[in-house]
């Protein structure tokens, strides 16, 4: 530990840090510090993740037996709806951008804070307001429309708390918009001297692309939810054909946001993985520009493919073909990323720390998630597969296997920086492997179930499908253990963990050149960037020789 000060190439001070700068409740609730806001996001988002996880456990337990016995169908419908709503709107969408992005983005570009710190705090409060309203609705009895809110069920037939939950999502959307806006302005205006666009870490590029989607897509879901509310309350015919509307119009509007929202969830994950793979193989990322621009390409083309959720919905055959074609095109940038990550490993110096294990896990799971996306983009095949467990398995491979794994990798990677403590590497590795194994055991059988035709959102299913469902539930329990473990050992590390060095892995990124945890101002001296992204040699000013000699804690 004592060596760490000597080798920190730093712009940070060893004196106060952002955690010790004020300890009153007001100093947290009224802070403008992006790092404190990120920590508050971390706590809230984790709570929503745990709630969503409990719903998931209830779903898997119900599906252990073919009959609808543990939960009656009405309860089951609410459970899977609320699992979806909490996980998507209150966990997946804010997780990486609002926690890791919020904390790291200013550090990575050498800024003191985001460009609009008050707006950043406002977005947290909006998120809380939306979340509280949604929780209130869940306490009152919840909602049973499925997270997709398809009309006319949601507007005319459902007797659950559609309005309250809809309002919660509506409000929460503004949090996303403000975060996205803040990131874009920050990336444009707050970069440190010498931090040119092509010296930005790929994590920043990914967040730029994500922010574009947030700003351009989120208003549409807000409008759509508003239209549902108008139809429910004052009976203006918009989506319900009984009063002159069109139910398929809802699906167009909904998926115009909700398909790009998938990219809000996965792009930041790709950004994290680009960081992990390059840094833990100490190797310049292969094809930097291709990875950066493939993020932007995914963000833009992601807006043109929403109709692939509607192949059997009654939209025109012509539209189905166009959407299928564009879906195939948008698969290419993801393939490019996959190949570039693999090529980055070539001739690297690879270490197998916990974050890197998550990165490997991501590559394996996202490979399967992405390839099964091709199955679902191929329109003739999707007629059979849509609305079955094949779809469920596919998007869990992308969302959980991709985004959640990347999020966990990122949390472990930056944990020493965020908290100044090292977690137990032993338990970290165990949990990373449990998550990988448990995840595959949970969701791979669902591909097979889906091809056999097991429909989604079924509380009861035919008996011949039970074997694979038992596998899936067994896997879910392994996955559950793997996900609870980090909560335990990460919390434990806050008090008992070894003190983290400023730069435990001797990495070139600016976030590693300040103290751990960083001071409130991030950098005591304005950093000046003279090196390209992902250069691991001496030219970036790191004293590697000293680090090799020292007994610095390397996790």
């Amino acid at each position: 530990m004592q060596a760490s000060d000597a080798i920190s190439t730093g712009y940070g001070s060893a004196k106060g840090n952002y955690l010790t700068n004020g300890s009153t409740l007001a100093s947290w609730l009224l802070t403008k510090d992006h790092k404190r806001i990120a920590i508050m996001y971390l706590v809230t988002v984790s709570m929503f993740f745990m709630m969503g996880g409990l719903y998931a456990a209830a779903i898997r337990l119900e599906l252990l037996t073919p009959a609808s016995d543990l939960l009656e169908t009405g309860t089951y419908n609410r459970v899977f709806t609320q699992h979806g709503i909490l996980m998507i709107f209150f966990f997946l969408i804010p997780s990486i951008p609002a926690i890791l992005g919020n904390f790291m983005l200013p550090l990575m570009i050498g800024a003191k804070d985001l460009a609009m710190p008050r707006i950043n705090l406002l977005s947290l409060y909006i998120y809380w307001a939306g979340g509280l309203l949604t929780l209130y609705a869940l306490m009152q009895g919840g909602v049973d429309t499925g997270w997709t809110f398809y009309t006319p069920y949601s507007t005319t037939f459902s007797n659950s708390y559609v309005m309250a939950v809809g309002l919660g999502i509506f409000i929460n959307g503004f949090s996303s918009i403000l975060t996205g806006l803040n990131f874009i302005v920050t990336i444009h205006t707050m970069r440190a001297p010498g931090m040119t666009w092509f010296r930005l870490p790929l994590f920043v590029w990914a967040h730029y692309a994500t922010s574009l989607v947030m700003i351009l897509g989120t208003p549409v879901i807000a409008i759509t939810v508003l239209l549902v509310a108008i139809e429910r309350t004052v009976k203006v015919g918009i989506f319900d054909p009984a009063i002159g509307g069109d139910p398929i119009l809802f699906q167009h509007l909904f998926w115009f946001y909700s398909h790009p929202a998938v990219y809000i969830m996965i792009l930041p994950g790709m950004g994290v993985v680009s960081e992990l793979i390059s840094n833990f193989s100490r190797k310049k990322i292969f094809g930097y520009e291709f990875i950066a621009f493939s993020s932007i390409a995914i963000a833009v083309f992601g807006f043109l493919v929403w109709g692939h959720h509607m192949f059997v919905s009654g939209q025109s055959v012509y539209a189905g073909l166009v959407f299928s074609f564009l879906t195939m095109v948008v698969a290419v940038p993801s393939a490019i990323k996959m190949f570039n990550w693999t090529a980055t490993l070539y001739k690297g110096s690879i270490t197998f720390d916990t974050p890197m294990l998550y990165a490997f896990g991501f590559m394996g799971l996202f490979l399967i998630g992405g390839l099964t996306g091709l199955f679902l983009g191929s329109v003739g095949l999707t007629v059979h597969l849509t609305d079955t467990y094949f779809v469920v398995a596919h998007f869990h491979y992308v969302m959980v296997g991709g985004q959640v794994i990347a999020y966990l990798g990122g949390i472990h990677y930056w944990w020493p920086k965020m908290t100044g403590r090292m977690y137990s590497e032993f338990w970290g590795k165990i949990s990373a492997m449990l998550v990988f194994v448990g995840f595959n055991l949970t969701f791979f059988p669902q591909f097979i179930l889906g091809y056999q035709g097991m429909p989604r959102r079924y509380a009861a299913y035919p008996e011949e499908l039970q074997v694979l469902n038992i596998f899936s539930t067994a896997g879910a329990s392994v996955l559950g253990v793997g996900l609870v473990m980090p909560v335990v050992y990460l919390t434990h590390s806050l008090v008992f963990g070894a003190k983290a060095a400023d730069n435990p892995w001797m990495l070139p990124g600016l976030e590693w050149r300040t103290s751990s945890p960083p001071p409130t101002e991030n950098f005591d001296v304005m950093p000046v960037v003279t090196w390209e992204a992902y250069e691991f040699g001496e030219e970036n000013g790191l004293d590697l020789e000293a680090a090799r000699r020292s007994d610095v804690v390397t996790a």
Binding site: T73, G146, V317, S324, M328, V329, A335, L374, V383, F536
Partner: protein, 343 residues
């Protein structure tokens, strides 16, 4: 449903399209494996071969390679295009309605499927069909979205409120197959389903004979038209005729008030009963009252069947096309146009 497939956990192939879908599926599995092998092998080999031998090493820098990038952009693009074309061909086959198919009317409601055969037999949550015969379903829903799904046939289509959607298949193997509702429809969604019985022609004829047929859809429609709803008071021929002539209507092109034309298909007839002011035929006054709320979806299909029967060879008239979507006018457009016609 006994599983005769040689692959474990693989659904039975029981329609003409099933083989095509499965072929596409296996092609995609092949592509996935071919794509995964270089990536997975690459990850494992590199991870082992280039594991760190020295703390904080600085391996040589490689910036990238334009040639490699081009290759691994181009090849996935070409392969994805083959997948697209394959999918498009199967899709085209799945939703091109065959001519002279045997027609069955299906109405979905929370939470059951009601079917009525052209010969009058009714079933609930069951569907008896003859083998090796193209079957065309004309589907409507009383309430929310449903989806008629038979996995063994590898096809499905949403049933959308406010219009007709269509599904066709040609079963190739006698047996008993699952029927599901695949679009979430509320409380008892997972109970909305049953069985499809595919029978040899002779067994099917016996089944038809053994089930008291009652009235056929056309007869029910005729009864509604002439007696219960008194449509005939305006629409029957003669000097008193105030409503449009219906004989020979189906499949023809109708001129509308205010310009524009529309093909008189199932959806057009349905909409004209529910929302008569929406599309008024040229030369007539918009005086017909709406029958919305007075007729059920089942009665509507019967009325449509009756109006169709007024046109000889109606079955071979316009092949009702579109992805589970008929040649539908969008209901919203109707609603928007309604005030104009009504004034």
């Amino acid at each position: 449903m006994q599983n005769t497939s040689w692959v474990p956990f693989f659904p039975e192939q029981a329609s003409t399209v099933a083989g095509m879908v499965d072929a596409l599926y296996f092609y995609l599995i092949l592509v996935s494996v071919a794509f995964s092998i270089p990536v997975v092998v690459g990850i494992f080999v590199f991870a082992i071969k280039y594991r760190a031998k020295e703390k904080f090493a600085t391996p040589e820098e490689i910036h990238g390679s334009m040639v490699l990038e081009s290759v691994w952009s181009f090849i996935p693009f070409v392969v994805s295009m083959t997948i697209f074309v394959g999918g498009a061909l199967v899709y085209f086959y799945q939703y091109t309605m065959p001519e002279n198919a045997m027609e069955i009317y299906v109405v979905g409601k929370q939470w059951m499927w009601k079917a009525q055969h052209g010969t009058g037999q009714r079933e609930i949550n069951e569907l008896h069909i003859p083998v090796n015969t193209p079957i065309k379903l004309t589907m409507a829903t009383e309430d929310v979205l449903h989806d008629f799904d038979i996995p063994a046939f590898r096809t499905k289509a949403d049933v959308v409120p406010g219009r007709y959607t269509y599904l066709w298949f040609n079963a190739t193997k006698p047996g008993k197959y699952h029927l599901y509702c695949a679009e979430y429809c509320g409380l008892n969604h997972s109970g909305m389903g049953g069985w499809v019985y595919v029978m040899e022609r002779r067994d099917f004829d016996n089944w038809l004979a053994g089930n008291a047929s009652g009235q056929t859809p056309v007869e029910i429609g005729k009864d509604l038209f002439e007696a219960k709803l008194s449509c005939a008071s305006c629409h029957a021929g003669g000097p008193q005729q105030r409503g449009a002539k219906l004989e020979g209507l189906y499949g023809s092109t109708v001129k509308l008030v205010g310009g524009g034309t529309v093909t008189a298909d199932d959806d057009y007839i349905r909409n004209s009963i529910i929302n008569p002011a929406g599309q008024v035929v040229e030369g007539y006054q918009p005086i017909m009252p709406s029958f919305k709320g007075q007729v059920t979806e089942e009665q509507l299909t019967a009325l449509v069947a009756y109006v169709k029967s007024l046109t000889p060879n109606a079955a071979s008239a316009p092949a009702a096309p579109a992805a589970s979507g008929g040649p539908a006018q969008m209901p919203a457009a109707n609603a928007a146009a309604a005030p104009k016609g009504g004034k």
